[in-house]
Symmetry: C2
Subunit: 315 residues, 2 copies
């Protein structure tokens, strides 16, 4: 299990290449939620999501021999772009396996960073199979999306930046997909903000981590139907589970409709664009799922790469 | 004509109540425009636009006797909300004349700050007539939208903040409606950034200031048909004209389509929501109307209060 020292080390690695993203505030949001709210805007991060942090920390940690071999990852979205950009900055060849149905703008984004894109069938089985074959045939180094110490430590640097801007924090709300961003930030936040409660947030149908937290064992669910595509992971990773049980105080859920309401509030009142997964943690605060009042809370906006057609639909 | 000392004084007045808005950057925008570009994000300002700066500076400058009488303004949009919020913060009663067709969200916003809203017919003649009547009957103090020294000085505080964040600036691009924001910021920028060129930007059909600048006299046009509603003013003010001829280097235009392209770029790549008028100055930079290269340029995003239905249409 990683410690805060690993996150400090990761921060030294990623600091020169990531954006320090702002903490957004809104009087209306404070009033509506009954708390003092900060939103950590990783939608303004490079590639439009936090994923560059872990990917860069991971690829930076490879030996020269490994870097020469090149890396492989599979992803339909933000992890693909994070690995592609990180590899490009470090002069490493990246091969990314993407499902045929991946959004054209994300495929174009991934290619624009110089990565080689190989298409596969849409099932996550096929994605893993194709990536595994490439790893073996071409001797590539895999960059896993979340179940990896370097990835987890990299994602944890979000909380390091939060602590540079605010001194006190009662609650930190973090979205949960495979568990990379919550694992890293739970470890960091518990060190940086004594007494803070760390809360994982999922959508109702994608509640594998909610069940996992209660059963105290990794629960795997059927591919969930949710607008928050970053939450379609069927279970969290082993390393992520270990940190979850040691550092996280609760896991809660919000509905897809609450996520849509939050996206609209962010667009109409706060003038920022977030993707559905990025609105999940803010939605838990906006709708005050935990019935808090007078607390200082922060929710992480994980990313902003929303399909314009989807944005159009919800407006 | 105001001087930089008036803007410094205005900054001391507004600093405690306005947001210091960020300068946004994007590698893609730099590459596309061939320049180093900063966007001053007044869409994140209180009430969603720069108008709070001038309105607060103006109402703050009133005598106690005037404050007791209350203020009156006419506006269909951001000036209404700016005056309403500024008056509310200063404990002054505000009466706002709004056209019957004003967007419901802007009427609701204005009322939410405690202002009394009085509706009038849609013509700007009727708006002025109704406001003038109220001024006389109720002995209210008028808060003009742009042709006023305190308003101009207040709007000029945008450039004061820009100079806190960057040391050097070659070009400043500012949108022109009635001329409040360009007048204040031309005076400030010429003091703060030696050698800077200040460029006014309008949409093609709303080119009264473009014509005014070339004719060296105030040109009034028919109500223009443009998506940038903040540019529908038919002429700039007298005080604004005087500053224009003394401090501004050029006035240029962009097409409505270029404004829409800019709004889409801002949403899809930079994850920020701006109103059409807010995208006018950035559009001149993005489309590099002046054919610059290697310069440090800043464009002011004037506001973000876009109608969700319009946003839906352009996506």
């Amino acid at each position: 299990m990683i410690t805060y020292a690993d996150i400090e080390a990761a921060y030294r690695v990623v600091k020169p290449v990531v954006h320090k993203t702002p903490l957004l505030t809104s009087r209306t949001l404070d009033t509506h939620s009954l708390n003092r709210v900060f939103l950590k805007a990783e939608n303004f991060q490079r590639i439009g999501a936090f994923k560059i942090r872990g990917a860069y920390n991971k690829i930076h940690s490879l030996t020269l021999e490994e870097r020469k071999r090149g890396v492989v990852a599979h992803s339909s979205g933000n992890h693909a772009q994070g690995v592609a950009l990180a590899a490009s900055m470090l002069g490493v060849h990246a091969t990314i396996v993407m499902p045929k149905s991946a959004p054209p703008n994300k495929v174009a984004g991934t290619k624009s960073y110089g990565a080689e894109v190989i298409f596969c069938e849409d099932s996550s089985d096929d994605r893993e199979r194709v990536a595994k074959n490439l790893e073996e045939e071409r001797k590539l180094v895999p960059v896993p999306p979340y179940d990896d110490d370097k990835i987890i430590a990299g994602q944890g640097t979000v909380a390091v930046e939060i602590a540079q801007d605010i001194d006190k924090l009662d609650y930190l709300f973090v979205p949960v997909g495979g568990g990379g961003i919550i694992a890293g930030n739970a470890v960091a936040a518990k060190k940086l903000f004594p007494g803070v409660k760390v809360i994982g947030v999922e959508t109702e149908t994608a509640n594998d981590c909610y069940q996992t937290f209660r059963k105290k064992e990794i629960v795997s669910i059927q591919p969930p139907n949710t607008i928050a595509d970053g939450m379609r992971t069927q279970s969290i990773g082993k390393r992520n589970f270990e940190i979850l049980m040691n550092y996280v105080d609760d896991v809660i859920t919000v509905s897809d409709q609450q996520v849509i309401d939050m996206m609209k509030f962010l667009i109409e009142r706060m003038k920022v664009v977030v993707e559905p997964t990025g609105a999940v943690a803010p939605a838990a605060v906006y709708h005050n799922v935990l019935n808090l009042s007078g607390k200082t809370v922060c929710a992480i906006i994980s990313g902003g790469n929303v399909d314009p057609a989807f944005l159009k639909k919800i407006l």
